[in-house]
Amino acid sequence: MKKVLSLVLALIMVLSMASFAAADQGASVVVGLAGDPGNIGPFQGMGLGRIGILFTTYEMLMVKDGSEFRGCLMKELTQVDDLTYDVELYDYIVDAAGNKLTASDIKFCFETAKADGNLPKLSSVESVEVMSDYVARFHFTALAAGDLESLLMECPIVTQAAYEASADKMATDPVTTSPYQVVDYKTGSTIVYKRNENYWQKDELLPTTSKHNVDEITFKIIPDPVQMVNALKAKEIDISAAIDGSYISDFMGVEGFDVTQIPDNTTKYLIFNYDSIPSAAERQAIAYAVDVEDIIAFAFDGIGYHAKTVGNNKYPDFVEAWNDEEYYEYDDEKAQALFAEAGVTAGKTYRLIYNVADDNTRIATTIQAALGDYGINVTLIPYDNALFGTYKYDDKKSGEWDIMLDEGGSSNLLTNVWKLTLDARDQTYDKTVGHVADEKLQSLIEAAINDNSAENMDAFHQYLKEQCYEYGLVSKVNNLAHTTVVTKAATCFRGQILPGACEY
């Protein structure tokens, strides 16, 4: 019995090793993904896993290449009037099925996406008009600063013919204009892409997102962080952006591996609930009392930097001067004085709500310990993602928290980060997420959104900082750990790995 069993085991092992060896080592790369993309169809919402495969799967009219915007499918952009623009396409675009991409496909994509309602930003696209084979005219309802670019980057483009030929609205088998095409998708496990040999664009015109330096790309979904580390160590994956900070030293300066650190576009910040903490001094005191360097050490293994505003400094509308300003650096004396001014005494309790994740738990615990030094209690209320979302935006739940630990980022502008929680117009009730109904704040943010000039930005930033309605904590840094198969790691403007643009 035992012998048979060991024989079977040995056999299985030999077979499995053979299958390893059989795998083509040629120009292919395996990327470890922590999130599950789920539906990879073009008009889906930006769920957490989707972003990792978005630019490998699709091309858009425009992309952001480094810090500049440029056309991808779009050759020319011409302004007609304030709210009308003409988009001219390259006239030689074909998708992998050989369908030519024309202006009517653009109209189709934007209309379908708008109707599906998963890309809510598109609501400011009033209509798309087909002017000629390769010119589409966009009519917008309103355009704030940066909106034009983000709208043209928002919607993935496919041909109507290919979309209608798909049985499941491309949920598993998108046919696109991208240089990589899905050849196999095991939901929840792997997505395999092969290079499209007949890719339409000439090499010299390629934006980073459309580069195709490798023949085959496999995205492997590995939800467990330790297993991500193990998979990289066993070289089953070549690169991952989801290596836990404490393991980075296992790959940094280690033979066969390398680490590239790229600032992430997300920032952790605190939202104070105005209903329970109406005093600016009290909010400032809390900001002074928390040592962000401690948070960086405890929650991010020392990798990250203290934010200078609510949002990080990667955005084009970030004002450089803020980098040299003071921004509530830890100051025990000021904290004590301000607490005294606000009449906060030992024994006071705050309820801190956060979305549960290892780093958030540690940030919250650090804040708890920091305020504990002043005799102030902090009750931690962790919620999972779905519950946190409900608590964050529900007016009725706002009585259940005093401080919220939140995270935000945007694809292009700092104002878009601010907008999410600080623009009362974006809430279902006429206050910010922190329940602030401050006319000055509102007018300043509206000004900044409409025109993100340095003055407007600075005016809002200074007022927000002074009032301390929200307080930026840490801007994160992405650790891209990879094997030396990848000689240069490349990411998109959203901090995601672009396997086609990496160098090998």
Binding site: P225, V226, F298, V356, R362, T365, A369, G372, Y383
Partner: protein
Amino acid sequence: MSTAVKDTHAGVRSRRQGQFGQVMHRLRKNKVAMVGLVVLLLLILMAILSPYITPYDYAKTSKANRYALPSWEHLFGCDAMGRDILSRIMYGARASLWLGLMSTLVATVVGVLLGSLVGYYGGKVDNIVMRILDIIQAIPGMLLSIAISAALGSGIGNTILALSIGGIPMTVRLLRGSILTVRKQEYIEAAEKINCSKWRVITSHILPNSIAPVIVSVTMGIGNTILQAASLSYIGLGVQPPTPEWGAMLSEGKSMITKYPHLCIFPGLAIMLVVLCLNMLGDGLRDAMDPKLKN
């Protein structure tokens, strides 16, 4: 009661204690079970006294001590926040033991009551109760817990409810299965015919003959319950940080497991110790209750 007229090898009928007394007496003589009980009581004592006896403040963070390995200063080392793991385990015993033991107890009591009911009455009662259990068992535990948290709010009682619901169907099924095999035996019928109350028939004739699998399964399940408690803190139940709890310590240390294994090993060992003690006690209890071993 035909079994009572058995010619046994060594009748010790001089002891005229109640059934409970006899069980306790036999339990006391079982060394292994007593060791289990004593260690368990010591753990409970440690939990009660923990605010006074932990070497450090369980919530005190320290940048210098992050991931500190076990040493004389910190016997079990320190966690990712530089907190002393020994102190956290000692204090964590409170929540973990209370949640683990209480929810196991509740699940067992309810499960045994229901199980005896359906096993004994059979027929319609059996069919209806078992189908209801089918329905409940189909609902994922996490969803039930979220619903409980949403409908009844947080709090230790609701946590125990959420944790125990999952254990009930298994207990009922096990008990029902083994009652079905003893249900039709003559001594049960005899007991019924001499007008023993139904309660008495169940407690002193049916249960002692069919409880063994339940005891085994309950004592083995406690570790799992403690681990589950950790997953409830995300939905508003369970214990909120920084109050330590073994399951949560384990899952906090999980992502560091290959790098700093001591973060996981010590809380894991603590859970194992409880499971071990309960198993030793459970085995003893089962032997003590087994009527075939009487006399």
